[in-house]
């Protein structure tokens, strides 16, 4: 602020033919810079704290918009003519906009005018009291130049204009109803004072306006309350003040101090008002439609980077606002972060710790939004598991990707267990609650989630047991398929070791399969594609598809077996064919699970068999080479022996 004022003073000097250099006292500096920031901020541009350094600035960057400036000037209650003079003198008319210099000069002139001095350049050279603005919130405090209170006014920036209009209305009413008895207000105050404190009143500067206005004209608060709902809450607060409205300004100031102490007035800049809250909530919604869910760190980072604060500051704001340090922002955390950013942009130094009014619990309690009034309270606790579940599922997914193919294969079986996810829910919220409570075993919690997933995957496999008895359909179909190997099928219940099925059967089945192959080969390509999804959809497959799949499975395995057989590894193919008939008798789900395992084993076997055959060939070749070399050696040896 001082730097800005000093720069303004320098800028004032740099203006040349403009107003003479301003000498501002510290209180004036603070007051003016804040007023300027407010007026400029109300324009929607938000020049930021460092803006008023340039003397000649491009229009649109550091200018105070004419509207709020005009309002402010009118609030000084000077005649219009005087205001015109002031505007001319300060040079705004000349340059066409209200830069910082012009603004400061204008404020000084207003102070001069209010003190009764003529509106001249010379008048601003002397020490003047601060200008008084009846309409603004700076009333009273500015006179005492208390910077701490001024902070409270800053919060109002986003909706300054609307409130000023309402101010005007109320002030008119004030003037009209001068003789309002103070007794009426206290009646209004008790019921409204609890909401006054609970619902985060508007900045106390606002309430101070009320009180100071009251000293002149007791306000018809009841009339005002229906005007704007948020104002109604704070009007109850000032309602308590008229009890002492007879006192001087100073005393009311001290009274307000008491009230503010009660309502932790030092946190005023950190209180979020209703309108601000709505704005934050809308922004939250734009990022994340579900108001009770989280914003991830990267999304929030992109969003907050737009505020053009420096990265270290943003990092610090994040540290403050992410209370549970989970890398994501809930709605109250987001509001706190947003509020800190807004405050920082308006020049407030960031606090050392998160102010109590920005704590998530406080924000939750203070703002039961009408839209999700109960939701925020009730559903926040209820939806915590639900919210954490999607979050944890999101977290789980990356971990699942990491854990590899096994999980994916099991996942496909888990898909079947979709209705059984409900059983997983108790597991995951517990895990998520532990995450939320930060027992500091993040790696462990992720592993526990994996375990939960594993546990969740187990249920699909056991249930098929009762279906064993109902495997009529499957066994019928299978019997059709594996007619030649009927004796083998009838013998097996559980998959016996591959050695059990009689030897001739595999050869028979192999021959049968080979016979089947030619007619089926044509169908193989078309249905091989189906077989792979059918393998994945094993849980989903209905009985009719099973025989098809079984046909293809032997077919596929037969094709696999063909290759090793061509490489002359008969026993391997026989071994792969052996489990076939034994599997048929299994219940559907067990069969499928077992068949997938069998298929894998068979594929592995085929690969190994191929490898084996190749190695055997190599061995043969090496043998031949050895023989050739030995021959050579013998041929050569008689020569040396001799």
């Amino acid at each position: 602020m001082e730097a800005a004022a000093a720069a303004a003073a320098a800028a004032g000097g740099g203006c040349g033919s403009g107003p003479p250099p301003l000498l501002l006292s510290e209180g004036e500096q603070q007051c003016y810079s804040e007023l300027f920031a407010r007026c400029a901020g109300a324009a929607g541009g938000g020049p930021g704290p460092g803006a008023p350094e340039a003397s000649r600035v491009a229009p649109g960057t550091v200018t105070a918009a004419a509207g709020p400036v005009a309002d402010l000037f009118r609030a000084s209650q000077l005649p219009a003519e005087t205001l015109h003079q002031i505007t001319e003198l300060c040079g705004a008319k000349r340059v066409g906009y209200f830069g910082p210099t012009q603004f400061y000069v204008a404020l000084k002139l207003i102070a001069a005018a209010q003190s009764g001095l003529p509106v001249r350049i010379e008048s601003i050279k002397c020490e003047l009291p601060l200008p008084r603005f009846m309409m603004s919130k700076n009333d009273g405090e500015i006179r005492f130049g208390n910077p701490a209170e001024l902070h409270g006014t800053k919060v109002q920036i986003p909706y300054l204009t609307t409130e000023k209009n309402s101010f005007k209305r109320m002030d008119d009413e004030d003037k009209q109803q001068e003789t309002q008895s103070p007794t009426m207000s206290p009646l209004a105050s008790p019921p409204s004072s609890p909401p006054h404190y609970q619902r985060v009143p508007l900045s106390h500067g606002y309430s101070k306006l009320r009180s100071s206005a009251e000293q002149m004209h007791p306000a018809p608060y009841e009339a005002r309350q229906p005007l704007v709902q948020p104002e109604g809450s704070s009007s109850g607060g000032p309602g308590t003040k008229p009890l002492r409205h007879q006192t001087s300004l100073i005393r009311s100031f001290s009274v307000e101090r008491e009230l503010q102490d009660n309502s932790s007035y030092l946190d005023e800049p950190w209180r979020i008002t209703e309108e601000q809250r709505e704005y934050y909530v809308n922004q939250f919604r734009s990022l994340q439609p579900d108001p009770s869910s989280f914003i991830s760190g990267s999304v929030a980072k992109n969003f907050f980077t737009k505020s053009k604060l420096s990265i270290p500051e943003l990092s610090y704001i994040w540290e403050l606002s992410d209370a549970d340090c989970d890398g994501a922002l809930t709605l109250p955390e987001f509001c706190a972060a947003f509020h800190l950013i807004v405050a920082r942009k308006n020049g407030y130094p960031l606090p050392e710790g998160l102010p109590p009014t920005l704590q998530p619990e406080y924000l939750q309690a203070a703002f039961p939004k009408p839209k999700w009034d109960c939701q925020l309270f009730d559903s926040y606790s209820e939806s915590l598991p639900a919210n954490q579940q999607p979050r944890d599922l999101n977290r789980m997914e990356p971990t699942q990707d990491v854990t590899g193919d096994d999980k994916q294969v099991l996942k496909s079986t888990v898909n079947e267990a979709l209705p059984k996810d409900v059983s997983e829910d108790p597991a995951t919220p517990k895990d998520s609650n532990s995450l939320k409570a930060r027992p500091r075993s993040r790696s462990y919690s992720s592993t526990s989630i994996e375990e939960a997933m594993k546990r969740g995957e187990d249920p699909p496999t056991p249930p098929p047991r009762p279906q064993k008895t109902h495997s009529r359909a499957s066994s019928l179909d299978l019997n059709k398929v594996f007619q030649p190997s009927v004796p083998a099928t009838k013998s097996g219940l559980l998959p016996p070791p591959p050695a059990l099925p009689p030897r001739p059967c595999p050869s028979q089945s192999e021959q049968v399969l080979e016979a089947e192959l030619p007619p089926q080969l044509s169908r193989a390509p078309s249905q091989a594609a189906e077989s792979s999804p059918s393998k994945k959809d094993v849980p989903y497959s209905q009985p009719p598809s099973k025989p098809i799949r079984r046909k293809f499975r032997p077919e596929n395995q037969a094709t696999e077996n063909q290759e090793p057989s061509t490489v002359a590894s008969g026993p391997a193919s026989a071994a792969t064919v052996k489990p076939h008939p034994t599997v048929q008798k299994q219940s559907s789900k067990q069969k499928k699970a077992i068949q997938t395992a069998i298929r894998k084993n068979k594929e592995a076997n085929a690969v190994l068999a191929r490898l084996n055959s190749e190695l055997q060939q190599q061995l043969k070749e090496v043998h031949q080479e050895r023989i050739a070399l030995e021959n050579q050696l013998e041929q050569l040896r008689p020569v040396t022996v001799l």
Partner: protein, 139 residues
């Protein structure tokens, strides 16, 4: 208690280093640097062993006349090195472990901040506060 605390990245450059004694700070930096060799030795010795909480804590790396140096490594090969004063009545191992655990927790919090790029110097006030609390616990 801790006279110097350092957080060292996987590539063995410091992410954060702070000492209580402002004079002769270089000596502590040097000690931390030399202790990295010991840390690497211990890590490679651990090798294929399952990495669990206990083995994240490396224990006493090496004692000197005045100071003792303790080490701790995380799963992502970020090392915490702590130099404590030998003149302090011997700190129990558990205390050192708890201090490292706190360090690890704070480091995780720093990581969670999306505005923190892994590999940057740590400039978190919360982290600083925690380290300060560790340093002035007894001193």
């Amino acid at each position: 208690m801790a006279v110097c605390v350092a957080v060292i990245a996987k590539e063995n450059y410091p992410l954060y280093i702070r000492s209580t004694l402002t004079e002769n700070e270089l000596k502590f930096h040097y000690m931390v640097h030399t202790s990295l060799d010991v840390v690497d030795e211990k890590i490679s010795a651990m090798g294929k062993a399952l990495v669990d909480q206990r083995e994240l804590y490396l224990g006493l790396l090496y004692p000197t006349e005045d100071y003792k140096v303790y080490g701790y490594v995380t799963n992502s090969k970020v090392k915490f090195v702590m130099v404590v004063d030998s003149s302090n009545t011997a700190l129990r191992d558990n205390e050192i472990r708890s201090m490292f655990r706190k360090l690890h927790n704070s480091y995780t919090d720093v990581m969670c901040n999306p505005f923190y790029n892994p590999g940057d110097r740590i400039q978190s006030r919360a982290f600083d506060n925690m380290v300060t609390s560790m340093m002035i616990q007894v001193c």
